[in-house]
Amino acid sequence: MTATATRVRAAARPSAPAVRTRTPGVRKKLELTFLLGPALVLFAGFVLVPIGIAAFYSLYEWNGFGPLDDFVGLGNYADALSGSVFQGAIGHNLIIAGLSLVVQLPLSIGLALLLNRKLRGRAVLRALVFAPYVLSEAITAVIWLLMLQPNGFVDQMLRGIGLGGLVQHWLADPGIVLYTLFAVITWKYIGFGIILLLAGLQGVPAELREAAALDGASAWQTTRHVVLPLLGPTIRIWVFLSVIGSLQLFDLVWIMTLGGPANASATMATYLVDHGFKRYEFGFGSAVAVILFVICFVFALLYQRFALRRDTDGALTRMVD
């Protein structure tokens, strides 16, 4: 981008008088201020300032009342990062993120390819797969909470089809609870992945498939070497959303398990609310919020820089030309 910009400027310099380049520059700046100003003020007021204030609070031991007078520096960060519960919570977020990539992605791709074919009842199937995504996370959590309770729908169904041996304490067994939650998350979000991928599949030109078929490629070879590479941008966006969502996982866990039993399903966000609001440790909670923010932010930056660059290159508007 820099190279292009320099070239544009270099090309403009000899022919265009200084005045002519400056005037549109000033006008452009005025326009930008006028059009972007309100958005920037809102963004600063509701995003940047609160982040800054949270970072400020995080340096204090503060119960939410009275003056901030107990400065602890980075003590809250040290406490959070050295605490086994918070370490466990980070681990749980990473497990969810990892499982999403390993399980949800192949499943979404497979289902999207299937639903992209001309098959009977395709519209109904698409609607069915997408329906859970329409529900709010809170409603999803309540529905599954009821279905997963002992002798609830899930247990009865397993027994009904002769798989009674698989019945577990879905939400009460510390060894299983995280995977139960992951299954519910998958149920809810798989439709979103599929819709995204189906949209991506619309961008795969039919001619390419036909050409591959004429060249004697099997259906698998066509998928592997023509369709999947062209789905790349969609997949990369999905991975981005999925990892960020996994890192910030809250509603579903809060309603279904409150992070329990024995912190086995605690996430960074449930830990944050547990300490910030339930224990009135607002300084400490702010430190946790900042840690969560930094983790997400760093991931977002790195991912944009390394994975999304080729997708967004050219899509970003350049201010210079």
């Binding site: 406490d79 996370e137 002992p150 910030q248 024995a262 009135y280 909670g285 923010f293």
Partner: protein, 430 residues
């Protein structure tokens, strides 16, 4: 509550509001009582009947007698008070009257300078409220006044007890263990507990501590927020032995306390478990979770049994209350309204409609069921009432205790670990 995508921003925003608002507020010494018409904003937890309609009636009656006062009630879920009150107390417009459970949480709130000292405003009539009002004192000043009281004990199904051949409610730990064994033999889940919510687990540790520690030790330790007497570890060991008998429903660590038929209250209400250690509110919770209209006749109450080897009084009771605190804008009007809540007509109504245990013995006659009357009598006669530790301790310590006990129920930790968790939280360690 929060969309998962917005956690950092929302949390940061929530944390930001108090400072921004605190920056705008002037001094907190606004003692000038407004003259003329007063509007009281009232945050209460009456989101469901019967309390919802009782409060509506109370407002109507009170306004009729006091035309200069307008009361704007706003019902909030219990959970909301923990998030909204701190923010409101940092703002310029806190509610004039808000639900308060006293103890350590109120002490934290009082440091905001926005909570009104009612000592003077209520001095003529505070004695009629009874001893429970002490739980709303901070450093000898009255920062709130209770309007109903609670005691915790075992609610049990008479029909299931009979089915298992248990003739009388257990009064000692041995008898309780024997009852558990008999119920298991009869194929009945002996006790339901809402382990997901953590606080029901804590009732057990609370009670074992009440039986293990003398009243003096309890008072001293709560005041100092330090558990250094060996009786506190005995409480954990007693609990450990009790847990070893596996008295609870399978998968209890994932069971909610009050939501749905699968909750611990629902299990007892529907005859799927024989007992539950819960407060006096339990019959009300249960009746909303079952189709059984005849539930009241099937459910009885007995106090937490005596435990051998402790210094605690076997008749000491765990409890607490619901109260309201005022903020400093309209202290007089607020205090007068709280006086009305403690008056006979309101107290009778609360008792008669099954909203909870009234403060006054005369209103207790209006209680609906014999079991509720027995809870009330037991509480009145108790030599010592210990407020639930999670409310008595500062909030951070109380939550740490509940978490530690819940982990203990889930098989993690030791009796000493629970004590350590409390002492560490009190020292400010995470």
């Amino acid at each position: 509550m929060l969309s998962n995508r917005r956690i950092p921003a929302a949390a940061a925003l929530a944390a930001a509001i108090p400072l921004a608002l605190a920056g705008c507020s002037g001094g907190t010494e606004t003692a000038a009582e407004p003259s003329g018409p007063v509007t009281l904003t009232w945050w209460h937890n009456g989101t469901t009947d019967p309390i919802k309609s009782i409060w509506a009636q109370v407002v109507a009656d009170y306004q009729k007698a006091h035309p200069e006062v307008t009361i704007k009630g706003q019902p909030l879920q219990n959970e909301e008070f923990t998030t909204k009150v701190p923010l409101a107390l940092q703002s310029n417009e806190p509610p004039d009257v808000y639900q308060s459970w006293g103890g350590g949480e109120l002490a934290s709130q009082a440091t905001s300078g926005k909570v009104a000292d009612l000592t003077d405003a209520a001095k003529d009539w505070l004695s009629t409220v009874g001893k429970l009002a002490e739980s709303w004192q901070v450093d000898g000043k009255q920062y709130g006044i209770p309007w109903e009281q609670h005691f915790v004990g075992f609610w049990y199904r008479k029909d299931l007890f009979a089915q298992a051949g248990i003739t009388a409610p257990p009064s000692t730990l041995d008898e309780l263990n024997a009852a558990v064994a008999k119920l298991k033999q009869a194929g009945i889940t002996p006790i339901a507990v809402g382990g997901k919510d953590r606080w029901p687990d804590a009732f057990y540790w609370n009670y074992f501590a009440l039986r293990a520690c003398s009243a003096d030790t309890l008072k001293q330790s709560v005041k100092a927020v330090k558990l250094d007497d060996p009786c506190w570890t005995k409480a954990g060991r007693d609990l450990q032995a009790f847990l070893a008998t596996q008295p609870f429903q399978p998968g209890f660590t994932g069971t909610p306390a009050q939501q749905g038929a699968g909750s611990s209250a629902g299990l007892v209400a529907n005859g799927k478990a024989a007992m539950e250690l819960q407060g006096d509110w339990e019959p009300g919770t249960m009746s909303s979770l079952t189709e059984d209209k005849d539930l009241d006749s099937k459910v009885g109450w007995f106090p937490f049994p005596a435990v051998p080897g402790g210094q605690g009084d076997p008749a000491a009771v765990l409890g607490g209350g619901d109260g309201f605190s005022c903020t400093t804008r309209a202290v007089k009007a607020c205090a007068d309204f709280l006086r009305y809540l403690g008056s006979e007509p309101v107290q009778n109504q609360l008792a008669a409609k099954g909203a909870g245990l009234p403060m006054t013995a005369s209103a207790a006659a209006s209680l609906k069921t014999e079991s509720l009357k027995s809870v009330f009598d037991y509480g009145q006669k108790a030599p010592y009432v210990q407020m639930y530790f999670d409310k008595a301790f500062p909030t951070a310590v109380g939550a740490a205790l509940n978490d530690a006990v819940a982990n203990f129920f889930a098989g993690q930790g030791t009796p000493e670990g629970i004590v350590d968790a409390v002492n560490k939280a009190a020292a400010g360690d995470k």
